[in-house]
């Protein structure tokens, strides 16, 4: 009973925070709700025995990406933002599409059958520790994608600087 209650709290909190994120007119408020949302998602990861993922969820998302959001919002002049419409004119259409997709996905979730279980059982991870198990995989089987990920980050850094730099003469 306890796990269900635990999940129920987290799930309802996540959905409510998500709704708050997309409906607030002040972006700063949205960011704050999103911060809470990310913490709750990290909690859910812990609940799923993924402590390393939970850690980087907090560090990268909450610590880095959200701060970036905040910076950008502060760079822009947003006093006007509070007075104008939040949604585009045809928002019911967007709502309909999202709702219809949700209905379709929910209708198929029931028929989902999980495949055979792998070797990373809870006992195995307990013995290995989660971070070590993940790190071993990352630096052996997934070394090449890992390196590519670093390249993607490098490109992103350079690209961001190039794009955001004030051009001479502007």
């Amino acid at each position: 009973m306890l796990p269900e209650l635990f999940f129920g709290y987290y799930a309802s909190a996540i959905v409510i925070f998500s709704l708050l994120v997309v409906t607030r007119s002040n972006p700063v408020h949205s960011i704050m709700w999103m911060l809470l949302l990310f913490f709750h998602i990290a909690g859910l990861y812990l609940f799923l025995n993924a402590e390393f993922i939970a850690a980087i969820q907090v560090i990268v998302y909450a610590g880095a990406i959200l701060v970036l959001f905040l910076f950008v919002v502060l760079l822009l002049n947003l006093r006007e933002e509070l007075k104008v419409k939040k949604f585009i004119g045809s928002w019911p259409a967007g709502l309909f599409i999202a709702a219809a997709l949700l209905v379709i996905i929910l209708s198929v979730v029931k028929s989902f059958v999980p495949g055979p279980a792998g070797k990373y059982s809870i006992e195995f991870i307990k013995q290995e520790t989660h971070t070590k198990a993940l790190g071993t995989l990352l630096y052996t089987d997934y070394l090449f994608p890992f390196e590519i990920a670093s390249l993607v980050l490098l490109v992103a850094i350079i690209g961001a600087i190039v794009l955001a730099k004030r051009k001479k003469g502007n």
């Binding site: 994120v21 997309v22 999103m34 959001f69 997709l101 979730v109 997934y142 990920a149």
Partner: protein, 100 residues
Amino acid sequence: MVPLNWYLILSAAVFMIGVFGFLTRRNIIIIFMSVELMLNAVNISLVAFSHYLQDMRGQILVIFIITVAAAEAAIGFAIIIALFRNKDTVHVDEMDEMKG
């Protein structure tokens, strides 16, 4: 024991909230946040799968998704700043340079 389906339903709900935000908000920063929301929804389902199938690959994928999300955020904000500098607006319905 919480069934896997609950996680999947949660994931779908968050994803669709993200889609709704993406399709309807005018502020491009909120649209970006909606995209992050969708990525997180996917992450939730991937971690859940990883747990229930006792397979680490789902979490490996999550790490890459977070990496790409970080990169995407950096580039995206650079574009937003460049746009704001030129157009003096963050409202996507006022940006229709590609109008035919």
